[in-house]
């Protein structure tokens, strides 16, 4: 039997499979378009067009402020290159610095002012004009201050580190008049700044270019942020001039450069340092002349160490580091002194004894004599700049900080955790009803996210100034978009050290969206709020009422006493910078600064290229190593995050012999009950229970906390955070690479993928901070990885209210 296929059927059949073929492929078309858009954005090859400009700027992807030159072609930035002129950044730009273009062009950026519609935290906003936003803020603030009888401190505010930070802070603190300010200090470096400043007179700079022996405890210079310390240190490790000892429970990239890596039980650093000190004292290895001439109460300290029996054997039981190793480290350190440094560290918010650890470290370094000397901790010089004064009125009704009694010393930047907890636990002496945030993301950066959310929910007004729709932005009532750092000029800054310089961030491109630099935001707020808030003050502030009577009228007082809130913010940043520079150095310097981005005296003479990679900034004999003569009169240089005024106040209050290195702070003990000398306290340390884990947090080299979590290029380098878990422990529990596990503490739980590794001990787990954003507006960061502050318990140490982030015990299970 034959079968025929008719012509019609044939044509139908062929039509059918053509349709099938094409339609199935059509869905792929949509996928491809999305892929293309993400895959290439911001990444452009140079076209070397005639309209190519090179504009100097300073990177803001982390706190280091490396100098960059932006290559701009036809209004678009094609590359950020290092600016070799800046001594501080040593002619480099790290992965984050290069990715500034992606941050600028991130499609998720905040583009215009927003006001919340819907419930707080829902993330529903409507677009408004700047005026409408200011109006809303004004209405709310007037109501709040009226009800609180002009207690300015009812307006709480926080700030993240930035070049324009003090513009905002001075507005809120000096003009608005609130004392309830918190910043990153107590979730970062307060204890080390205070520890070194109170001991040595300043936090100083580790001269890693010349040091011979360096102990880095916990500090992860190869990964956390890339500072001059990174650039100097890692060229000299591995037998090339410097010995590095790394004390860290985790084998970091820094440890891979070490001569010796000593894993330590989390939270026991104080025992280690005390034991080192004991060895140096009992074997008389310390620099006798230096201690005699430059240290006060050293005999007391010696007696204290020996009497308490802080032997290496004692420390071995607590830290897990062998006594033999402790002895070797102490002996090597002193053998290489004065070019030996116990590195200060940056984020030191780990345990309850942090402050004393840093004190002990500073004293130990000083015992070697490496203070204010090449190869040790140096203070350097700072180039002066003109002042930009902002008149600040006095608000008589503004009360003191709400958490001032929660720790021994609460400075002007407070204690984030204590301050927040005081608001929600009902112990605040008066209500804090408004909250302003600038460039900080407390929802992700402060331990115990749940409590931060609670705190924000109690507010009547939440205003957030930021560039990206972070989790904190999602909790706002009013969102004010700041211009990206490549879109604005920021206050000129002087950077001290052994090779001081002045650096300027110039605007590179015009603002893409309806955003403003923070000085203009403060100006706008100031214009809107001045008169209405003045009225409130007039109503309730008796001192002001008297002043008006005495000084002849409202107008006069308003203008002269600084109640015009926009006064000081009306000039453009460029005008202010011009004044600050030209008033000290003249017009020529101002021109150089604008053209090259960097200036220091005799720059043309001194700046030379030494090799393809390295430059000389100052000739050797012009570098400022030893600067202290007699009393610590020269203002010791601190790094960018340090509030120098604050440190001066503290020093004056608690140091006795101000020109000497303080081994004992008897005033501190007398006035505040903090141990005068570093003392190990058993009650402040809890060993990790068997079968459970201590959670520690930290950084990788590709991310800056939570600020870069949405950056397409950086996520290409590392797409997720993973949980570091000891391989054998993982094997026991049947956990393999990439398996989802739940990490649970007493305050919360998160889920994260596992990374079994031998680089961490069996009773510790780790994952990097900054992931796990809940904000649905961050397309790439949304629900990517896990948020460490969801599980980190909100402990804080009682000297300065600094967070103790490594005191959380967690449980793990596979899900």
């Amino acid at each position: 039997m034959k079968t025929e296929i008719s012509r019609r059927r044939f044509l139908q059949g062929s039509a059918a499979f053509t349709v099938v073929a094409v339609s199935g492929a059509a869905t792929a078309l949509i996928e491809k378009k999305k892929h293309d858009e993400v895959a290439s954005f911001g990444l452009r090859k140079t076209q070397w067009s005639d309209k190519l400009e090179e504009v100097p700027t300073l990177c803001e992807m982390c706190v280091n402020k490396c100098a960059a030159i932006a290559r701009v072609e036809d209004g678009v930035i094609t590359k950020l290159n290092p600016n070799p002129l800046f001594p501080k950044s040593r002619n480099m730009l790290c992965a984050r610095g290069n990715a500034g273009i992606q941050a600028l062009e991130d499609p998720d950026r905040l583009k215009y002012p927003l006001i919340r519609v819907g419930k707080r935290g829902e993330g529903k906003f409507k677009r408004v004009t700047w005026d409408e936003a200011y109006e809303y803020i004004k209405d709310k603030m007037v109501k709040i201050l009226d009800e609180e009888k002009d207690n300015r401190s009812t307006i709480g505010f926080c700030a993240g580190e930035g070049m324009a930070e003090h513009t905002y802070v001075s507005f809120m603190k000096d003009k608005i008049g609130s004392s309830n300010f918190v910043n990153h200090s107590t979730i970062c470096l307060t204890t080390t700044i205070a520890g070194y400043s109170l001991t040595l007179g300043g936090y100083g700079q580790a001269d890693l270019e010349n040091a011979e022996y360096v102990i880095m405890a916990g500090a992860n210079r190869a990964e956390a942020i890339v500072t001059p310390d990174t650039m100097d240190m890692f060229k000299r490790t591995k037998g090339r001039g410097a010995k590095l000892v790394v004390i860290d429970p985790r084998f970091t990239n820094t440890a891979s450069h070490a001569d010796k890596w000593l894993p330590i039980e989390v939270g026991t650093d104080l025992a280690f340092v005390l034991a080192l000190t004991h060895v140096a004292i009992s074997e008389e290895l310390y620099n006798k002349r230096f201690t005699q001439e430059n240290m006060s109460d050293f005999e007391d300290y010696k007696k204290h160490i020996l009497d308490k029996g802080y032997t290496p054997e004692w420390a071995e039981k607590i830290t897990g580091i062998k006594a033999k190793e402790i002895r070797e480290v102490a002996r090597d350190f002193m053998a290489h002194a004065p070019r030996s440094i116990y590195y200060q560290g940056r984020r030191t918010a780990w345990s309850f004894q942090d402050f004393q650890v840093r004190r002990a470290q500073a004293i130990f370094t000083a015992m070697g004599g490496g203070i204010d000397q090449k190869g040790g901790i140096i203070f350097g010089k700072k180039l002066p700049l003109g002042k930009h004064e902002i008149s600040s009125p006095t608000y008589f009704n503004a009360q003191g900080r709400i958490e001032k009694n929660k720790a021994a010393v609460i400075g002007t930047s407070g204690s984030w955790i204590a301050w927040r907890n005081t608001i929600i636990d009902g112990t605040a002496p008066y209500p804090v009803r408004a909250f302003f945030a600038y460039k900080q993301n407390p929802m992700l950066s402060v331990p115990n996210t749940t409590k931060t959310r609670q705190m924000l929910e109690t507010m009547d007004l939440v205003v957030v100034i930021d560039t990206m729709p972070s989790d904190t932005v999602m909790m706002a009532d009013v969102v004010l978009p700041e211009s990206h750092y490549l879109e604005r000029e920021d206050p000129v800054k002087t950077f001290g050290g052994s090779e001081p310089s002045i650096a300027l961030r110039k605007k590179v491109v015009d603002a893409k969206y309806d955003t403003k630099p923070v000085i203009e935001i403060m100006r706008g707020l100031g214009e809107k709020l001045s008169k209405p808030l003045f009225e409130i003050s007039k109503k309730y502030d008796e001192e002001l009422q008297e002043l008006i009577e005495d000084e002849g009228g409202e107008e006069a007082v308003y203008k002269q006493e600084g109640y015009d809130l926009a006064d000081g913010f009306r000039h453009s940043q460029e005008t202010i910078n011009h004044h600050m520079v030209a008033s000290v150095y003249g017009e020529e310097t101002w021109k150089t600064l604008r053209e090259k981005g960097i200036f220091y005296p005799d720059m043309d003479k001194y700046f030379k290229q030494k090799s393809v990679n390295n430059y000389q900034y100052y000739p050797e004999h012009k570098k400022s190593y030893s600067v202290i003569k007699g009393d610590l009169e020269v203002e010791p240089y601190h790094d960018t995050c340090v509030d120098t005024k604050e440190m001066s106040v503290l020093k004056k209050e608690f140091r006795t012999a101000t020109s000497k290195i303080a081994c004992a702070l008897y005033n501190l003990e007398k006035k505040k009950g903090v141990d005068a000398m570093p003392t190990w306290r058993d009650e402040l340390y809890t060993p990790t229970p068997q079968g459970r884990f201590r959670f520690i947090t930290g950084r990788h080299g590709q991310f800056t906390q939570s600020g870069t979590a949405n950056n397409a290029l950086l996520l290409d380098l590392m797409g997720d955070n993973y949980l570091w878990l000891n391989k054998r422990v993982a094997q026991e529990r049947g956990i393999k690479f990439g398996d989802k596990v739940e990490v649970k503490s007493s305050i919360g739980a998160i889920q994260i993928k596992a990374y079994p590794t031998e680089k961490i001990g069996p009773n510790v787990v780790f994952f990097i901070h900054g992931f796990g954003a809940e904000s649905s507006e961050l397309t790439l960061a949304h629900h990517r990885g896990a948020n460490d502050n969801m599980i980190i318990e909100d402990h804080y140490e009682k000297s300065f209210g600094s967070a103790a982030m490594h005191e959380t015990i967690v449980d793990i299970r596979r899900v």
Binding site: M1, F10, F17, A25, A28, E31, G719, Y722
Partner: protein, 397 residues
């Protein structure tokens, strides 16, 4: 001058072209080839839109299933050409009958092979231009491509002359096609053999063994073609041919097994990195043990040995397993070359290195590859319709 004078063909109407005997086997073949060709077109459609992302090839494993399939078809073509030349170039009596059918098979196989690789090479048109303008004369791929182009030209001419019963010219072009085909085919082996970066593949083995393997493939295909053509009821001259073919195949398989044993022994001896470990991985994988060895070599070989070359009907069926085995030989060739990591370190902290490079073909790759088989069947069907591929009995004596 009409086409029929130049190249005699059987006239067909649309109706006669699409009619065939309604047996189970025929209908099954018809439906199968329609399904496969549909799949092929769908796969091609997806590729045209998505590009190489439709395939499972990666940076470390850039050659995938499509390359393996290309090799499969090209080897089949060369094999059929070689086997065919045994008859009308070297005048071995028993093989004389297969001339036209084998050459048509060779032409179809290479055309299908080219069509498969057209969707793997990113810029096929550019290839034709620059292969001529700026040839890379040290490149085995250049030689392979150029020689296969010439080979196709020669065997088309050979077929043309065969169809016109012009024995002088058909022999000349047959010889030319054979020589160029052997050169092209060994250059294909050299594509792999020249790779200094790949110790497991580098060396003379592939250029040499490819010729042998082509002949084995050609033999299997001939069993299949003649088994199908005569539906197992063979006229005497075909039977004689198949008995001879069985013995030839037996010899070829014996040599092939011998080659493979020594290849693997020398690969694992001495534990040389990137060679011994890859060899051990291959030796313990199902692709090799079941596919290449059992289906491709042992089963047909066992049948030939036990039946002393007489079980030609069983051999037709065994040729199916044989071809499956041949497919796995090609896949293993391409895959094994790329198994060893050239850069074994991980480049992200949160990554795991695998001991070997991993590759899984995507559905699109399978559709195009297996679909091409359907295309080959359809083209063979068309050739059978248009040309008289049978031998003329009276010509034989």
């Amino acid at each position: 001058m009409n086409l029929n004078n130049l190249l005699p063909y059987k006239k067909q109407t649309l109706k006669s072209f699409f009619s065939f005997e309604f047996t189970t086997a025929n209908v099954a073949m018809f439906l199968l080839s329609i399904a496969l060709v549909t799949a092929m077109f769908y796969g091609i459609g997806v590729y045209l839109i998505e590009g190489h992302h439709a395939y499972g090839v990666t940076r470390q494993h850039a050659w995938g299933l499509l390359i393996a399939m290309y090799v499969f078809f090209v080897v089949s073509s060369t094999g059929l050409c070689i086997m065919s030349s045994i008859g009308h170039v070297f005048n071995i009596e028993a093989f004389k009958i297969i001339g036209k059918r084998a050459i048509v098979g060779a032409i179809i196989m290479i055309l299908v092979g080219f069509s498969v690789i057209a969707f793997e090479i990113g810029h096929p048109v550019r290839m034709v231009i620059y292969n001529i303008l700026t040839p890379g004369l040290t490149s085995a791929i250049w030689w392979m491509g150029t020689l296969y182009g010439m080979y196709l030209f020669f065997i088309i001419l050979e077929f043309f002359f065969l169809n016109n019963n012009n024995h002088k010219y058909s022999t000349i072009f047959g010889l030319a096609g054979l020589v160029v085909g052997l050169a092209a085919h060994s250059n294909l082996g050299a594509v792999f053999g020249f790779l200094v970066a790949r110790p497991f593949t580098n060396g003379p083995f592939f250029p040499l063994y490819f010729i042998l393997s082509a002949m084995v493939t050609g033999s299997y295909l001939l069993f299949l073609m003649y088994g199908w053509r005569y539906k197992m009821k063979f006229p005497p001259e075909v039977e004689t041919f198949l008995y001879t073919l069985a013995k030839v195949l037996g010899l070829l398989l014996a040599v092939l097994i011998f080659f493979e044993i020594w290849r693997m022994l020398t690969a694992i001896y001495g534990n040389m990195p990137e060679r011994a470990d890859v060899a051990m991985h291959t030796l313990s994988s199902a692709n090799f043990l079941v596919g290449e060895v059992l289906l491709g070599m042992l089963i047909p070989f066992a049948i030939i040995i036990y039946s002393k070359g007489k079980a030609i009907k069983t051999l037709v069926y065994a040729s199916i397993t044989g071809m499956v085995g041949i497919f796995w030989m090609r896949y293993d060739l391409v895959h094994d070359t790329q198994l060893a990591h050239m850069m074994p370190l991980k480049i992200k902290e949160y990554a795991q290195t695998t001991p070997f490079v991993e590759y899984t073909p995507t559905l699109v790759e399978w559709m195009i590859s297996l679909g091409a088989l359907g295309l080959a069947v359809m083209m063979y069907y068309a050739a059978d319709k248009f040309f008289d591929l049978d031998h003329k009995v009276e010509e034989l004596h």
